[in-house]
């Protein structure tokens, strides 16, 4: 922005500023997107080519073999299904229980509301990793939920950020709408189902997107709780492949990158298709409360 220092007073930033801003934005986008491009290119190379020319597609060196190779080693479909069950369970729990909590935190007056909201904010700054050891003892040892999908889902069941986003959306609904329904004799559950939920439908997609990132990408917890390979989400089985072949392999990078593409693709696709439900206002309200 220093290029615009010299612009005369009381004038909009000149052309120099606009050009500089464009350059910054495009350079940023390149830095963020290049590794993804390189991930795809690398996953299609027959022999890994890390020279500068290797960054461009070379017809003679393209193959889908790497996808077959990684699939035969870690079972991509099993991994995807496990990731799907893990993520789906968390989204279901968050949407059902999180919406109920968000509704009560905004619309209903009850003792303990302030404390519950403060807890929802506080929970977001507790490093989850600190809880890893006690949660492992409780869930794997005491409850015997090691190597189960339930054990995987439990610590993530209700996303607190989602609770706060639901609350924020419900707060924007005029109180009169709820009161009118109550005067007509609707029960609280009916008010929620017939009045509140239809009004916050846009929030639902935002919440699903935000909740999706957590379990789909989570590594540490499912890694601790699943030793059985047939139950591991894709992030865990791919990580195990990376850490076990990193030392030995002759050419593992193509297979690793193919696995990485399969793991990344659903999240990236989802966020491109629904990008307008993942905007700064949603995130701002979600984190700040």
């Amino acid at each position: 922005m220093s290029a615009t220092v010299a612009t005369p007073k009381r004038e909009k930033p000149g052309r120099g500023g606009t050009v500089l801003r464009g350059v910054v934005l495009i350079a940023g986008a390149l830095v963020f997107l290049f590794p993804f491009y390189y991930m795809v290119i690398g996953s299609l190379q027959r022999t890994p080519d890390s020279s500068v020319t290797g960054a461009f597609p070379n017809i003679a060196n393209l193959t889908l073999d790497n996808y077959e190779a990684i699939n035969s080693r870690i079972g991509l479909l099993t991994g995807l299904v496990n990731s799907g069950i893990f993520t789906g369970g968390v989204i279901l729990g968050t949407v059902v229980f999180g919406m109920l909590a968000g509704y009560t935190l905004s619309v209903l007056q009850w003792r303990g509301r302030g404390v519950t909201f403060a807890l929802a904010l506080l929970v977001q700054v507790v490093p989850f990793q600190l809880l890893m050891i006690p949660l492992y003892v409780l869930i794997a040892r005491d409850y015997g939920l090691a190597d189960t999908h339930l054990g995987m889902i439990l610590p993530f069941l209700i996303n607190s950020t989602a609770v706060i986003i639901f609350r924020q959306y419900f707060l924007q609904v005029p109180k009169e709408l709820f009161d009118a329904a109550r005067i007509d004799g609707a029960s609280e559950l009916r008010v929620l189902w017939n009045v509140a939920i239809p009004l916050v439908r846009p929030a639902l997609l935002t919440v699903i997107l935000i909740t999706f990132i957590g379990p789909w990408n989570e590594f540490l917890w499912p890694f601790l709780i699943t030793k059985d390979a047939s139950l591991q989400p894709l992030a865990v089985s791919l990580a195990n492949y990376i850490s076990s072949v990193a030392a030995s392999a002759a050419n593992p990078s193509g297979a690793v990158l193919a696995g990485a593409v399969v793991l990344a693709a659903p999240a990236v696709a989802l966020f491109i298709v629904f990008q307008r439900y993942f905007t700064s206002t949603d995130i701002g309200s979600g984190v700040k409360g």
Binding site: M1, V5, T7, R10, P13, V24, G28, A29, V31, F32, P35, Y38, M39, A55, L100, A101, T104, L108, W110, R111, R113, A118, A120, V123, V125, V126, P127, F128, Q129, L130, L131, M132, I133, D142, L157, I158, E188, N217, L220, A235, A239, I242, S243, A246, A247, L257, G259, A260, V261, L263, A264, V268, L270, F271, Q275, F278, S280, T281, I283, G284
Partner: protein, 323 residues
Amino acid sequence: MTATTPAAPPGAVPRKADRRGTASPGGGRRKRKLLGENPLGLLFSAPYLVFIILVFAYPLVFAVWMSFQDYFFAAPGAVVDRPFAGLDNYARVLQDPAVWRAFGNVGIFLIINVPLTVILSLLLASALNRAVHARAFFRVAYYVPYVTASVAIVGVWLFLFSGNGLVNNVLGPLAPDPSWLINSQLAMPSIALFVTWKQLGFYILLYLAALQNVPKELYESASTDGAGPVRSFFSVTIPSVRPATVLVLLLSTVTGANLFTEPYLLTGGGGPNGASTSPVLLMYQRGIEQGNPDVAAAIGVILVVLVMIIAFIQRKLAGGDES
């Protein structure tokens, strides 16, 4: 971070209760006084409250308790004696050079990651905020790394930053030897850069939200007073987004303290020679791999206390009280 909300005043209740009429007005009123105007709120929130108690509150207390016990894994259901150990675990942790190393590593990480995150995300967010064309494209491009699994991105970074990887090929004679991730001087800074890059999109969105709330009049009056774009960036933008900055500082510090996946995979378990071990990786190694959960819990408690101290200092320095 508004910690206080208009909580239900427990006393000021019966107004609506009378209108709606209850079977036993006297008893209902007393119950309402105890539970608030709408006790159903408690019922609807119960699953969430139980979840918080089960998954956050109880394990938190359990972790602290465990750090003062001689705790070890036992077969499920077995009743074993786990004597109170006082500060033994803490003494053991503090005498362990690997622990000091790990905390030092996270210090290096934070010194690189936190300022870089704040500066770059504010810079890109303000450029994006005033961009006219292709805003959605840039926004998506910036947060794509944030929504992608670390494990997937680690795969491509290993390929990019390996000894004969693309980065070293581009750098040519300037390439570090030994290469980035196996160089004890560069392993931790490489991880810090990786995490900065990966998380930046999220913080850009946070700043973007803050920037959109800055009143346009402030810029207009600054420009009337003769301030150029650079001057108004420093005297209007930066003070106006201070609450967001406090939040970015806090969240990036917590993310740094939580570091696990990157040292585990990117540098092959905190290598070379512990140069990139993080406290959480150490907790995993000591607690789960070596079967000393009590020691791991003590490391965790120290970690959280340190994070709280750093967050408090940041809040003081950045003037978070105004938010």
